[in-house]
Amino acid sequence: MEERRFAEVPRESIKLMAESSGVELSEEVAALLAEDVCYRLREATQNSSQFMRHAKRRKLSVEDLNRALRWSNTETICGYGAQDALPFRPLKEGELFFVEDREINLVELALATNIPKGCAETMVRVHVSYLDGKGNLEPQGTVPTAVQSLSEDLLKYYQQITRAILGEDPHLMKVALLDLQSNSKIAALLPYFVYVISGVKSVSHDLDQLNRLLHMVKSLVQNPYLYLGSYVRSLVSSVMYCILEPLAASINPLNDHWTLRDYAALLLSHIFWTHGDLVSGLYHQILLSLQKVLSDPVRPLCSHYGAVVGLHALGWKAVERVLYPHLPAYWANLQAVLDDYSVSNAQVKADGHKVYGAILVAVERLLKMKALSLTLAAEGSGAGLPGTTTGAVSFRENSPGLSPPPEPLSEPPLGIASHLQAGGAGCPWEEWTPVSLPAMYCELYSFFGDSLAVRFSTGLPLGGVPPPGPCQPLEGRKEPASSAPNLENTRKMPQLTASMNISPRQDGSPRMEPQPPSLAATVPGRSLARSSSSSVSRSRSSSSRPGRSTSQSRDIFPKARFPLPQAGPPAFSFIIGGRQMGRRCQGRRFQTSFSPTPPLTTHPPRAYAHKLPVIGRVSKPVRRWTCSHYSLHLPL
């Protein structure tokens, strides 16, 4: 039997139909009828396809067939107007097929209480699809719910990337992350990536996966072609999860979840500083949730730790506003943990030390930055802001590098304030008045005692630990090498350096990249070297201990002074040099988010080095400081 090219109705069907209506047909009649039925069916179908074409549809509807029948003076078929397909079922016994036709209880339907909604009004919506022949960047409509609506290529890309990032091969992951960071065509995939990232909640037992997902966040955030829009919120919540949640992985003390939290905190600040303007009130929301965690004594210490590093990463103002007012209340709890020397408490106590260290680092910087801002303000007003060429544009906001972006500040603080108030910690937002520096110092000193004093104001003697390497890998962070030989330091906070996941990286290593890829690779360096000559230190008697400077720190200086600009983007290395020389050279820096580093043109580091003798005493270096683009960076 040759292949049948066109469908036919078999005469058996005709006979069956006839039987069902009580007519006996002879073979011949059935054959004739079958042929005629075939022809008529075909004719009707062909005619109906015309109605389909003119209705600009692809799908032939029952209505189309009915129209064709009507125009050829044939009775139309009724009762098949439903949009959904009719199930065509076989009967188990015998080769019989039928259209399922369930009985509907009309009474039930009529008395049903859920009255179906009418369909929405037909309307016309306009959007600019293509501007000057180019695609519109604004995302349109709602987020597509299914992956299959993507083009095939994108889908493939998505699968490859996620597989590479979450897979085993570290090299592949690197490539994937790099591509994610620079690919300009993945806007459509953003929702899917964001969705994948939100999967952090389901892999809280797997530090490795969490890390990979955070790297993915970082790549997305850094992609200059992506407009994150409201997805920022989702990304932030995923990152916050990693910072704050008592992850399942942290049950095992061998798991280094601290690193993850530190990294996530860095990432958070990065997202916030680069994309914080996309979502209004983001700053306050983040602060609020950090504060909530901090003020919740039931939470494990690792959560508290997360809150502290989070605040720290958001800048000294965040610390000042949330952590500092909350400190007295929190201190009691922490003290209790630290003072418990029982064996069963050992693990908790170790955690407590971590928190202690984190707080110490945070407040330390708070003090420093506050002092800095005060001096800057004083000098600025005193010198009458000399109009150096490019300079002091937004000096106050930028120079400390730590003020929150203008948006949250300008926002009327009502709603958020009440939230913060409800949080119960710290002072109410609107009533918040900056505590004067000496008062703050006094209070903090009461908590931390000498450790604060020593670390803060007498940098030089402490600082002199030469780092094992300029760029220490993340994992290596924990090694105690970084802990200073200084007795005090080791005694009071052996975990500090460790907990801050700071490789004591020596300051001016020029190979720091400005881009957050360095966040992963190069952990922010920390130099313990301090200059003793600062207005802050002068203001406090205890702080000035110039005699304690060691030769080690002396060694550091020359290194720092002449960072060679050739290796990395010069701007960054320059910052470090400048800071060390000009200001109290706080040792640690976090480099945050400001990916497009302004090109450094004005002061090559060498020229700067010549000024060394006068730095710190005169206002001049300060001005220079503002003139250059330091303000874009966030020193910690």
Binding site: E2, R5, F6, E35, D36, C38, Y39, R42, E43, Q46, Q50, F51, R53, H54, A55, K56, R57, R58, E63, R67, W71, C119, A120, E121, T122, M123, V124, R125, V126, H127, V128, S129, Y130, L131, D132, G133, Q140, G141, S149
Partner: protein
């Protein structure tokens, strides 16, 4: 009601080709008495006709295969000097038919009208009551006195209904043409011997002679079916259907269902195939070759078919290549005969009316106080100089009477000119921005969309019989107040136009109810006061956009009306439908002014030429025809599409035509030369929308495949060298440069593009219904 319409209604459709006649009423003396001044030569011609009705035809010459191209350009009146015998026979056949169907009144009128009394009486015994016709046909009479008949005049010669050998004027004759038969068992032998022959000839001839396969195959198959050799027919089909060109698949699908003689009678598509003569274009050499072969082999069966059912257009010169043939073939009735497209077409634009345009609005405002008359400069620099000179290709300004411009029209023209000075010049480097108008929640099915020229209003036709109008600007739509309220307003006030509007009715959209079937076509009048809609219910409706009510329902098609389009000057409009004719209407007449008959299948889309003197129609028979509004002649006939044509667009200068079809290709045509000049491949589904940018530089096409594509039409037109040779022979080499011409392709998420429109500043608007599945 027009008698001809009535006849059409009562006659079963399959016989309609008999009545492929022009109803030639004078083009109506248009809106108002002002038209009287415009009347001139053509009107007088018509007036002459009123006194001396004539039957115009040259049927004989067409049927016998000779050409009668001389009559094409000459006015119809002179064409038919004396009615020929065949025409009378045609008429007699019609009369017989009418009589058999008891349409006595019509018989009477037609008879009187066609001056057939004598012949009629001599041939048959007339049973109809003569007096009755007078009584009630008074009105019809007066109407008919202006009707002249041109049965299938020269331009439509391909579809001349009656086979030559009929000396007996009857309908059954058409079918009986197949009664003469050879031995059915030899059909396969005949066909395969021809096939062997064609496959063995030289390459250069093979392509040309291969054209014979399809028409021969169909005719032989039908002969077999007609003579009740069902099994042989099936076997024949099985054996040879695979050889046919792929673009005939749809036809083959229809054909294969036909196995009974009874089916044959009801099938319109095939009736057309048999009644019309399939046109082939073959070089003289190839033809000689074929002839010699057939005569040597005494293959009379095939020779007879060629003689009777095919029209072979022989030309001198090089045989054409396969690609040349393929680009032109594919229609129901073969290719165009060369002489059909020889008529002169006045494709130029009409002279712009001189309107005093203040050059710059702001300047005008500022300096108005000083010298009012001086400031009103006429705008001569750009538009003026062009319109001053009469385009040699333009028709006479008053070739067809056009409505006079109203003040509001002049204002609109001024607006248009101002806007066009701000127009963006488009080009390959400067593509237009696209705004997409998505119809949401259009569950009832969006079937047609139109924008007003100034892009202020948007109309949608829906499958649930409604027409909806939206305002595309923030200005809401308002109705005029009721008559009682209108009496109250101060008619002398300056803002009377504002006062007549009823603020309470302001809304973003208005629904228009009235049709009783899906609305397949909508079109705004150029003055934005009216909207036309055509529907499956067989009517075209005219809606007022002042009151948002239906003003007129134009009945005449009686079958679904697929498309309608307003003339660019308003007043006239054209409609085309399932009854295979396009009709020209004037808004103030309830009968059509012209009936354009000739397509072998549904007229799917209709468009007016920018100068309003021509109408173009696309059809399911895969052909495009250009009709002269003045005399109803078909002046251009384009073949080449491989599927039903669903979109047409004239270039703004009136020189070119673009057409899109279900085969996903856009074809470009030069109207003046009557040639295909370009093929734009790329779309993967039916093209429902085509539009040229305002300057004609860009052609935008929108398709069911959810894309809008932009083509470099300038380059397409420039690349084609239309030398005298190609113009004379009509043999074109199409460069395969679709990829170069494609400037951009833009996807919508899930919205088929139903309509495209360029605003006056060249922003591209696209519209379609979002499809959630």
């Amino acid at each position: 009601m027009c008698l001809w319409c009535r006849i059409r209604q009562k006659i079963p459709k399959k016989k309609k080709t008999y009545y492929a006649a022009h109803v030639m009423t004078p083009l109506l003396s248009a809106p108002g008495k002002k038209m009287a001044a415009v009347q001139d030569a053509p009107m007088e011609l018509d007036a002459e006709k009123e006194t001396k009705p004539e039957i115009l035809s040259d049927g004989t010459s067409n049927l016998s295969g000779n050409t009668a191209s001389g009559t094409l350009s000459s006015p119809p009146l002179t064409a038919g000097g004396a009615p020929k015998q065949e025409d009378q026979q045609t008429l007699i056949a019609v009369l017989q038919f009418l009589r058999r169907n008891k349409l006595t009144e019509s018989v009477e009128i037609l008879r009187r009208e066609a001056c057939l009394e004598d012949q009629e009486d001599s041939q048959t015994l007339d049973g109809s009551g003569g007096g009755k016709g007078d009584g009630d046909g008074g009105d019809a009479n007066s109407l008919l006195s202006r009707v002249s008949i041109a049965s299938a005049a020269a331009p439509q010669s391909t579809l001349t209904p009656i086979p030559v050998k009929n000396d007996q004027p009857d309908v059954s004759v058409v079918l009986s043409a197949y009664s003469q038969q050879g031995d059915p068992s030899l059909y396969q032998v005949y066909y395969s011997s021809l096939k062997n022959f064609i496959e063995s000839v030289l390459d250069c001839h093979r392509a040309e002679l291969s054209q014979l396969f399809y028409p021969l195959f169909v005719h032989m198959y039908l002969e077999l079916v007609y003579n009740n050799h069902e099994n042989k027919a099936k076997a024949f089909f099985e054996k040879f259907s695979g050889d046919q060109e792929c673009y005939y698949q749809d036809d083959l699908r229809i054909l294969c269902g036909l196995t009974k003689k009874e089916h044959l009678k009801g099938n319109e598509a095939l009736l057309d195939f048999r009644t019309s003569r399939f046109v082939l274009r073959i070089s003289r050499d190839s033809y000689q070759l074929l002839k010699r072969h057939l005569q040597e082999r005494h293959n009379n069966q095939i020779w007879n078919i060629i003689q009777e059912h095919l029209y072979i257009d022989i030309f001198d010169g090089m045989p054409r290549s396969k690609s040349q043939i393929d680009s032109m073939s594919g229609s129901f009735a073969g290719e165009t005969r060369r002489e059909v497209n020889k008529a002169k077409v006045f494709y130029g634009l009409l002279k712009e009316p001189e309107i005093e345009v203040p050059l710059d609005d702001e300047d005008d405002e500022a300096e108005n106080e000083e010298g009012k008359p001086k400031k009103k400069k006429t705008k001569k620099d750009s538009m003026g100089s062009k319109s001053k000179k009469q385009d040699p290709n333009a028709p006479q300004q008053n070739r067809i009477p056009l409505p006079e411009l109203k003040d509001s029209d002049k204002l609109d023209k001024i607006m248009y000119m101002k806007e066009s000075t701000k127009r963006i010049r488009l080009g390959p480097e400067n593509l237009p921005s696209i705004c997409f108008y998505s119809f949401l929640n259009a569950y009832q099915g969006l079937t047609a969309v139109d924008f007003t020229d100034d892009s202020s209003l948007l109309a949608g036709g829906f499958a649930d019989s409604t027409v909806r109008v939206w305002s595309a600007t923030p200005k809401k739509l308002r109705k005029v107040k009721s008559a009682a309220e209108l009496n109250l307003i101060d008619k002398e006030s300056d803002d009377v136009l504002e006062r007549i509007m009823d603020e309470k009715t302001a809304s973003e959209s208005k629904n228009l109810y009235g049709h009783s079937g899906p609305v397949y076509g909508v079109s705004f009048s150029p003055d934005r006061n009216y909207l036309l809609s055509s529907s499956e219910d067989g009517t075209v409706r005219l809606w007022s956009l002042q009151t948002f009510t239906c003003l007129v329902g134009y009945k005449g098609h009686n079958y679904p009306v697929w498309d309608t389009h307003f003339s660019p000057f308003g007043y006239y409009f054209v409609s085309g439908g399932h009854d295979r004719v396009a009709r020209l209407w004037a808004t103030d007449h309830y009968q059509p002014l012209r009936i354009f008959a000739g397509h072998l299948a549904d007229v799917t889309c209709t468009r007016f030429h920018p100068n309003s003197n021509y109408v173009v129609t696309g059809s399911t028979d895969r052909t495009i025809r250009l009709w002269d509004v003045l005399n109803g002649n078909c002046v251009r006939f384009f073949t080449g599409h491989k599927g039903p044509i669903h979109s047409l667009a004239f270039s703004p200068n009136g020189k070119f035509l673009a057409s899109g079809s279900t085969d996903g290709r856009v074809l470009l045509w030069d109207i003046g030369h009557g040639l295909m000049i370009g093929e734009l491949k790329g779309h993967t589904d039916t093209i429902y929308a085509l539009k040229f940018s305002r300057d004609g530089e860009i052609l935008a096409s929108g398709s069911m495949d959810n894309t809008v594509r932009l083509w470099d039409s300038m380059k397409a037109f420039d690349d084609m060298e239309t030398d005298d040779f190609t113009a004379a022979t009509g043999h074109i080499h199409l460069p395969d440069n679709s990829q170069e011409l494609l400037l951009g392709m833009y996807h919508s998420k899930s919205t088929p593009v139903t309509h495209l429109h360029f605003t006056r500043r060249n922003l591209l608007l696209a519209a379609g219904a979002y499809n959630s599945q």
